[in-house]
């Protein structure tokens, strides 16, 4: 797909929501070991509400669609994850104000803005074993791919590939922030659940936008 219109973006977010809900047992299993065990349930709650929101409404622009998605996560999830995943979908909105569909350049500007906003707000640095460790390589992969194509499908696939590489890298990291820092060395060998959620989100979107 070269450009994603509103209905394609809607399908992409619904697929991503289904994938997040399906990943809940795995997220919970890992977070039980290295966190307080609530990340998977929080994500499931948020993305169940997000799917319900998308099925019940029509949106006049990609801006309105992602604004509603972000707000829905903030409202339904609470806690830090709700804010940070909401930020990911809201922080880059200015880049797509007024557009009625997104190509790869615009998708990269939108997600890149959201990624920058998560880093600014969450105060996590690279290497702290957080979602940032999936977000930064996702952004780098998107920017790299833009040299070859501006089609939205490959750009979203690049985001997924970057995030998956980041998930792998978090396995060897020591946690530095949040509850899981209390688990320190026990967390070695386990990936960060927040990073996994990022890769599942981008992967679900990529699946739909690559069609």
């Amino acid at each position: 797909m070269n450009r994603a219109d509103i209905s394609a973006l809607k399908r992409a977010m619904i697929t991503a929501a289904d994938d997040i809900v399906a990943a809940e047992p795995e997220l919970t299993r890992i977070d039980m070991v290295i966190g307080d065990g609530d990340h998977g349930i929080g994500m499931k709650t948020g993305f169940t509400a997000l799917k319900r929101e998308l099925l019940a409404n029509d949106y006049e622009s990609p801006y309105a669609l992602f604004h509603a998605c972000g707000l829905c996560l903030v409202k339904s999830m609470g806690g830090s994850s709700g804010v940070l995943f909401g930020t990911l979908l809201i922080g880059g909105l200015e880049a797509i104000r007024g557009l009625d569909s997104l190509d790869g350049t615009e998708m990269c500007a939108f997600l890149g803005g959201g990624i920058d906003a998560v880093i600014r707000r969450g105060k996590a640095k690279p290497g702290y074993k957080t979602m940032v460790d999936a977000l930064l390589p996702a952004k780098a992969h998107m920017e790299q791919m833009l040299r070859d194509t501006t089609a939205v499908g490959p750009i979203m696939r690049a985001a997924e590939a970057g995030a998956l590489g980041g998930v792998e890298a978090t396995k060897s990291m020591l946690p530095r922030l949040g509850r899981s820092k209390n688990f320190r060395e026990n967390a070695i060998g386990w990936p960060d659940p927040g990073a996994i959620s990022v890769s599942v989100l981008f992967g679900g979107m990529a699946k739909e936008l690559s069609k």
Binding site: L71, V74, S80, G82, V83, T87, I90, R121
Partner: protein
């Protein structure tokens, strides 16, 4: 709290709803942000900067008791001991925000920062002017670290009074936020908890009962007051030209009369050490079942002093 355990998600909305039922002349409760809760000042003042205070629920009278004329325009709380959602803060901002903008005023904790910062962004996207002021006054937290690592305690009470008066004067959002940041930087709060059976005094316990940093055995009331003021003055270091205001907040197990007697000793100690301005005493924020008090100093220069002078402001169950 266990008595209310089964209704935890609805605890704060039920609390604010009943406050509005009890004093409809003063407050109204806003629904739709559960499990967070929103309490609004009954008579809106959209021509002024709107002040929203927020934090974890279930203390008292801070946070909702500080909503009213001369105080904040809205209070937003999360479930007990949990930050409110950005969504609830956003809804409160839309409900009371006018041309002059919205000021988000809160104590410095991670969850509160994340949610207020997100609400700031959501309100800006809708075209509102927004400013945030964080209160970092608890000297018992993050000792030896920089101020932005400190938690907030109850200096925010002074900031609420200053914000309300500055907003009522018609000051702009930037002007109100500037005054508050200036005042905030000159505050310090120390928790002094007392074991009255064996005269042991602990300084610097945290808001969630984190251990203190210093203990006095066999302390007298006067001796504890002297050491309290010494530690605070050493921390906040009054400058020439500043007058020092003192807020004595009784903790939950301290009696009304005990708190005033203690405050008298504290005021004497303060007058010996610096240019003391006005002392205020009350039950502003009562978190844990502790006997003792917190003491807050605010060093006010000529710009800040007028906002603390004059008649006390009347909140729910306290004078400030």
């Amino acid at each position: 709290m266990h008595w209310f355990g089964e209704t935890r998600d609805n605890y704060c909305p039920a609390w604010f709803d009943a406050m509005a039922q009890a004093f409809p002349e003063r407050w109204r409760a806003m629904k739709g942000s559960e499990p967070s809760a929103v309490l609004l000042k009954r008579a809106p003042t959209p021509e002024r900067v709107a002040v929203i205070i927020s934090g974890g629920g279930s203390n008292g009278p801070f946070i909702p008791g500080f909503v009213g004329e001369g105080l904040a325009d809205a209070a937003v709380v999360g479930p007990p001991y949990t930050a409110p959602s950005a969504y609830a803060l956003y809804e409160a901002g839309k409900a009371i925000g006018g041309e002059k903008g919205v000021l988000l005023l809160y104590n410095n904790f991670m969850g509160d920062y994340l949610n207020n910062d997100m609400a700031d962004e959501l309100l800006r996207l809708d075209g509102y002017r927004v400013a945030q002021v964080l209160c970092c006054d608890d000297m018992g937290t993050a000792i030896g670290e920089s101020r932005e690592n400190r938690g907030g305690r109850i200096a925010i009470a002074y900031l609420i009074r200053i914000a309300a008066r500055a907003a009522a004067e018609g000051k702009s959002l930037d002007e109100v936020a500037g005054l508050l940041r200036k005042a905030e930087a000159r505050t310090s709060t120390l928790c002094v908890s007392v074991d009255p059976l064996d005269d042991r005094v602990t300084f610097g316990k945290g808001i969630s009962d984190e251990p203190g940093f210093k203990t006095l055995e066999k302390a007298t009331v006067a001796g504890a007051a002297e050491e309290t003021v010494r530690l605070l003055v050493e921390d906040v270091k009054p400058r020439p030209g500043e007058k020092v205001h003192m807020l004595v907040n009784r903790l939950r197990l301290t009696s009304y009369s005990d708190s005033f007697v203690m405050a008298g000793y504290l005021n004497d100690a303060l007058k010996r050490r610096c240019d003391a301005a006005q002392m205020r005493v009350g039950g502003y924020m009562q978190v844990t079942d502790t006997y003792g008090y917190t003491v807050t100093l605010l060093c006010a220069d000529d710009e800040i002093a007028p906002y603390l002078a004059g008649e006390p402001t009347c909140g729910d169950g306290f004078l400030l």
